[in-house]
């Protein structure tokens, strides 16, 4: 009984962790370039809608749908970058405005297009033949969809680019010492536009995975605060990619647990259980803030517009 519960739970963790992981990684890339991205929830929402829209409009091709989700996130990020990089709008205001813009836009488009509550096939699990049939190990490790298995290589790639490539060096320089990067001839505007688009594509992909991979249906506001949790995860991870992945798995585990507690027949008021992810996020943030000493890689210029001719 307990074993069944655990296997069932652990097998669901990766699917729930992937949106957090991809979104946190995307935000991390954006923030490493010094752009404070409160618009995460917005990128996720447009990604979720674009994913469903692609499937309902172009047929049930999950790969195309996920690409559309990433593209939608990147496209919305261009508006954001125009505001905060080119026009130097306060990044908090622009980020919040963007979230509400995306909420309104996805609500309007999704409703008028009639995409609400239309079930789709979406992503299906890969089959590893006999491996998938193994007891315990099979469901936990070998019955997931392609995105789950791609997430780890994506993290490795991002960590490598950030840490061991010239592009990553320039990107981190723009976030950590824009004056120095500027004097070194790095185009701050271009780096920030690029990093924001790349990161927003990942966040959009996370949103697309929510609609195409997990829910297989679209409802208004379906990211339900996951974008905000991802922002907290980046802080918790102290801007280190692998820690972000660990945090995402933790939150995936919490989310996967929620429906299973009730299914297991434990009597807990439903809406109190619903608070858990948010309270857990708060708890994790408090823990992060009170712990000092550990090396944080928070970019020094996070949230600051760069203006060379400032005197």
């Amino acid at each position: 009984m307990l074993i069944d519960f655990l296997v069932n739970w652990l097998a669901a963790v990766p699917e729930f962790a992937v949106p957090f992981a991809l979104a946190a990684l995307g935000l991390l890339v954006i923030e490493k370039a010094g752009v404070l991205s409160l618009g995460a929830e917005g990128f996720m929402l447009v990604g979720a809608l674009a994913g469903i829209g692609a499937i309902l409009g172009l047929g049930d091709h999950p790969a195309i749908a996920l690409a559309a989700a990433a593209a939608a996130g990147a496209a919305l990020s261009l508006l954001f970058s125009l505001l905060v990089v080119t026009l130097r709008v306060n990044q908090v205001i622009a980020g919040l405005g963007l979230v509400f813009l995306a909420q309104g836009l996805t609500g309007l488009v999704g409703t008028t297009q009639g995409w609400v509550n239309r079930p789709i096939g979406g992503l299906s699990a890969l089959s590893f033949g006999p491996l998938s049939e193994l007891p315990v190990v099979g469901p936990i490790l070998f019955r997931h969809d392609a995105v789950v298995y791609l997430t780890v290589p994506v993290f490795a790639l991002a960590a490598w680019i950030l840490g061991r490539s010239m592009v990553g060096l320039r990107l981190r320089a723009v976030g950590d010492g824009p004056d120095a990067a500027d004097a070194a001839g790095v185009s701050i505007g271009l780096m920030r536009f690029g990093a924001t688009a790349a990161g927003a594509a990942l966040v959009g992909l996370a949103g697309g995975y929510l609609s195409v991979g997990i829910a297989r249906i679209w409802i208004e506001g379906m990211s339900g605060g996951r974008g905000w949790i991802a922002i907290a995860l980046v802080i918790f991870a102290r801007w280190q990619p692998w820690r972000a992945l660990a945090g995402a798995v933790l939150f995936g585990a919490i989310e996967a647990l929620i429906p299973r507690v009730a299914a297991a027949g434990i009597q807990v008021p439903q809406y109190f259980v619903g608070m858990i992810p948010y309270l857990a996020t708060l708890g994790v943030m408090i823990w992060t803030c009170t712990r000092s000493g550990s090396r944080s890689l928070e970019p020094r210029a996070l949230g600051l517009a760069h203006a060379r001719e400032d005197r």
Binding site: L38, L79, L83, L87, R88, V89, N90, V92, I93, A94, L96, G97, L98, F100, L101, Q103, G104, L105, T106, G107, L108, T111, T112, E220, G224, G225, W228, I229, I231, A232, I235, P269, Q270, Y271, F272, G274, M275, Y278, L279, T281, L282, M285, I286, C289, T290, A307, E309, D310, R311
Partner: protein, 374 residues
């Protein structure tokens, strides 16, 4: 090793490698403007608003509403029909209160994104007073208002203390608490507080003594005078009292304030708790003034509107009044668009966001000077 030559042994660089043609064309220079006149600021605000409204019209026309219909809904009906005007004013009252709340927090540079959560907790406590029939009937309404204010402030307490104590980012903490408050509300409405008469997920109707009475013109209730009084009190606090002075210092450079022995922590605490209390009051005004019960989604969208209003008003109380009226028009017109043109309610949110972003972008021209350099 080819690309890195040791400087000390390097031959002189070859003649300059720039395109001589580029010099003649001229270019657009951007400079930080040290000082912007009030006229310029007003012009930028007006320009931003105009651009935002134009974008909003384009969106609505794209969604299938004719331009003439838009003019009818947004301008004509409100100017000509007293019912519509009353509806706008009823709508504007809680908006002004929550906008004032946002403005107080923003004045001390505290990003209170948790206005909706504070509204919910305020309304929940007010409803609790109503459901438990606390206190004698004549003062019940006052008790409800106080409970609402207390609730809103209490919901703010944790984020502000965490920010002051351990520098926990208040944007995230206040926002997360919105979801917690919403879940609490749903728990109550789907559980113990479900209306016994209809078994719909909202609270039982308030008694007559627990509602804001009508003031005798159309169906306006005492919510509007209350909002006006709060705005005036806010204007005095900001402009005429020592607290307002301290808030300006806390908003601009709290480190200086501390070095001069000014009570910066107390100022931030006061301003933010006031912000939460006002949000709670707004929740109370909606429940006791318009809906006469606690509903699931009474606060939806007010949080962002509050932020928008404070932003448009540049955190000035009197500006809040003007901005709240404008957003009130948007709310009321949005409702009729929803009913008569099947435009989803999210359009109202989209329009607000577009206006915020346009006004924020227009600030560029206040803070920068563009110059053509030949």
């Amino acid at each position: 090793m080819s690309e890195i030559s040791p400087a000390l042994h390097r031959p002189l660089p070859a003649a300059a490698a720039t395109a001589p043609g580029r010099r003649r064309r001229g270019r657009l220079g951007v400079e930080i403007r040290q000082h912007a006149s009030a006229r310029l600021q007003a012009a930028a605000l007006a320009g931003g608003l105009a651009a935002g409204i134009a974008c909003a019209c384009a969106i609505l026309v794209g969604a299938g509403v004719g331009l003439a219909d838009l003019a009818q809904e947004f301008v004509v009906s409100i100017l000509t029909s007293p019912e519509s005007l009353a509806a706008v004013l009823i709508q504007a009252a809680p908006l002004a209160i929550v906008g004032l709340g946002a403005a107080f927090a923003f004045r001390v540079r505290f990003w209170n994104i948790g206005l909706e959560g504070q509204m919910i907790i305020g309304a929940v406590l007010a409803t609790a007073v109503s459901l438990a029939d606390l206190g004698p009937e004549p003062v019940r309404l006052i008790l409800m208002a106080c409970a609402a204010a207390l609730g809103g402030a209490a919901w703010m307490l944790a984020p502000v203390l965490l920010r002051l104590r351990i520098r926990l980012n208040e944007i995230i903490s206040t926002l997360l608490l919105n979801y917690v408050a919403l879940n609490l509300l749903l728990h109550l409405l789907y559980g113990p507080w479900r209306d016994p008469a209809t078994s719909f997920p909202n609270s039982a109707l308030f008694d007559a003594s627990e509602r804001l009475a009508e003031i005798g013109w159309q169906n306006l209730n005492w919510g509007l005078p209350l909002a006006l009084a709060l705005v005036l009190a806010g204007a005095w606090l900001v402009g005429g009292s020592r607290v307002g002075f301290l808030m300006r210092v806390a908003g601009d450079n709290p480190r200086m304030g501390r070095a001069l022995g000014l009570p910066m922590t107390g100022t931030v605490l006061a301003a933010t708790l006031l912000s939460g209390a006002l949000a709670g009051m707004a929740g109370f005004v909606i429940c006791a003034g318009a809906e006469h019960r606690l509903t699931q989604s009474f606060a939806t969208g007010y949080g962002f509107s509050g932020i928008l209003i404070a932003f448009l008003a540049r955190n000035t109380p009197l500006g809040v009044l003007v901005a709240a009226s404008l957003v009130g028009v948007l709310f009321v017109a949005g409702q009729s668009l929803q009913v008569f043109y099947q435009i989803p309610g999210s359009a109202v949110q989209l329009i607000q966001a577009v206006i915020v972003l346009c006004v924020a972008a227009s600030d560029f021209f206040v803070r920068h000077r563009l110059r053509w350099i030949a």
